[in-house]
Amino acid sequence: MTKPGQEPSSEDTASGGTDVTALPGGARAALEAVLMVLDQPASATDLAAGLNLTVAAVEELLLELQREYDGYTVKAPDMEIASNAGFTSSPRGFELRNVAGGWRIYSRAEFADVVGAFVLEGQTARLTQAALETLAVIAYRQPVSRARVSAIRGVNVDSVVRTLTQRGLIEDSGTDPESGAVLYCTTSYFLERMGIGSVAELPQLSPHLPGLEGIEEFYDAGRM
């Protein structure tokens, strides 16, 4: 499924003329229908374009659905009875999450054991300690060359980097203009797997570096 690039106002698509609000369940249900066929996170902008709605409207609907799936008060035009009664339903078996810059439906973590029995694939092999450390260095120092990662870890990281690339967690992101070394970055799949929107949401590194606030400058000064 790819992201539509057109503006919400464009009329040259099949949905150009569809007024989703007129359909049963309205825009909310239409959005839900689209969420059902996604195989990767879709941004509010892409969803808005596909639905002929404004981004703001879609964002509001997304948050509404998210809350609803989580079991908070239902809020929708024709559900006022329930809403007014302050009625709270139990959480659904799935949730709507905003990860890696897009929205996507996930089964709820509580049901992992049950769901796991049905989903043979998607079972993820655990990363080794070496792979985790390498991934951590790349995540915090990206874009970064293998040489720099090995300098930090104290060992050669070539084969670990290869594994992480094959797993789609990191990718080649060009070369260093000075040294010509290949630089690596984390991928959006990494963000998805971490359940975060961007690398800026990774836990801070500095609290783990007690009394060494200046260490980054020290290394960047070319000493290491």
Binding site: S107, A109, Y140, V155, S159, A181, R193
Partner: protein, 300 residues
């Protein structure tokens, strides 16, 4: 934290090639990792810093100079054990251990000496080496900690399964008809390209931080070779006397390691922190630096 980090340290060193089967991916990974040697055994800890941190925590010490001096002997013993077990060390992996072992020995030796003031350049160099080791160790420790956080997050997140179902048939049927222009021969050519083993990107040695400096280990090895082949043993101090920068010193040191590996030089050191004397042991000028190129040239 994986199960392997819970393995008692004492057992770690005894794990040998039998690990091949169950070794973590990167250990048994690429075909070239099949070589019997250091890397396979490294699977049990993830590098010299990991080992050092493991030893320090075993003694319930904080990372201090004292801690480093205390665990130095164990660190060295550990490397010796590996050496006994192993056939050959992969130089780029072993050299890190050796560099750190050397620094640790220096630190320990310095602590045994009467507390004195900084007197000469050697003392300053020692202090720098100590600071650098501390800094690197602490930096590594920080990354090790966030790696544990990543592991926990990844595990937690893996409990959520994304909805990822095949496209409903009526939508799949709407997809534009595939344009296919490949003949079987063209397709085969494509397969040839795709299946051809990709030339692995050159193995880097951690010199990228040196900002593309023109210093070459190969050249330095040739230079050292020429000097030593005069016949007279020279001290390392003498060998680096004309080095115009730290980088050249490092390159010469690495070159010496290479020469030692090729068994064309021998080292002699009478006392801790004493002069390191290097002697040419190969008959004549048989040795050639040609093979050094692949290992150290970093330019693509």
């Amino acid at each position: 934290m994986s199960a392997e980090s819970a393995t008692p340290l004492a057992q770690r060193g005894q794990r040998t090639d039998e690990d091949d089967g169950g070794a973590p991916p990167e250990a048994g990974g690429a075909p070239d990792a099949k070589k019997p040697g250091f890397e396979v055994r490294l699977a049990n800890f993830t590098g010299p810093f990991d080992l050092l941190l493991g030893l320090i925590s075993k003694h319930q010490l904080d990372i201090t100079e004292v801690a480093l001096a205390t665990v130095t002997d164990e660190f060295i013993k550990y490397i010796r054990n590996l050496q006994k077990l192993g056939e050959e060390w992969a130089l780029d992996e072993a050299s890190e251990f050796l560099v750190i072992a050397a620094t640790l020995l220096d630190l320990k030796a310095a602590r045994l000496l009467p507390a004195g003031e900084v007197e000469d350049d050697d003392d300053i160099a020692l202090l720098e080496a100590r600071d650098l080791l501390f800094a690197r160790l602490l930096q590594y420790k920080a990354f090790k900690q966030v790696a544990a956080l990543l592991d926990a997050t990844l595990e937690l997140e893996a409990r959520r399964y994304p909805r990822q179902v095949a496209l409903e048939e009526h939508f799949a049927a709407m997809l534009p008809e595939l344009v296919w222009k490949h003949t079987p021969q063209q397709f085969a050519a494509l397969a040839e390209t795709a299946l051809k083993p990709r030339i692995p990107a050159p193995t880097e040695v951690g010199l990228a931080h040196l900002h593309g400096s023109p210093v070459s280990v190969k050249e330095q090895a040739e230079l050292i070779g020429l000097r030593l082949q005069q016949g007279r043993p020279l001290s390392f101090r003498a060998l680096i006397a004309d080095a115009e920068s730290t980088l050249v010193v490092v390159a010469r040191f690495l070159a010496l390691l290479e020469l030692f590996r090729d068994q064309v030089v021998a080292f002699n050191q009478l006392a801790p922190l004493g002069d390191l004397t290097v002697r040419w042991t190969a008959p004549g000028a048989e040795w050639s630096s040609d093979h050094l190129t692949e290992e150290y040239e970093e330019q693509p």
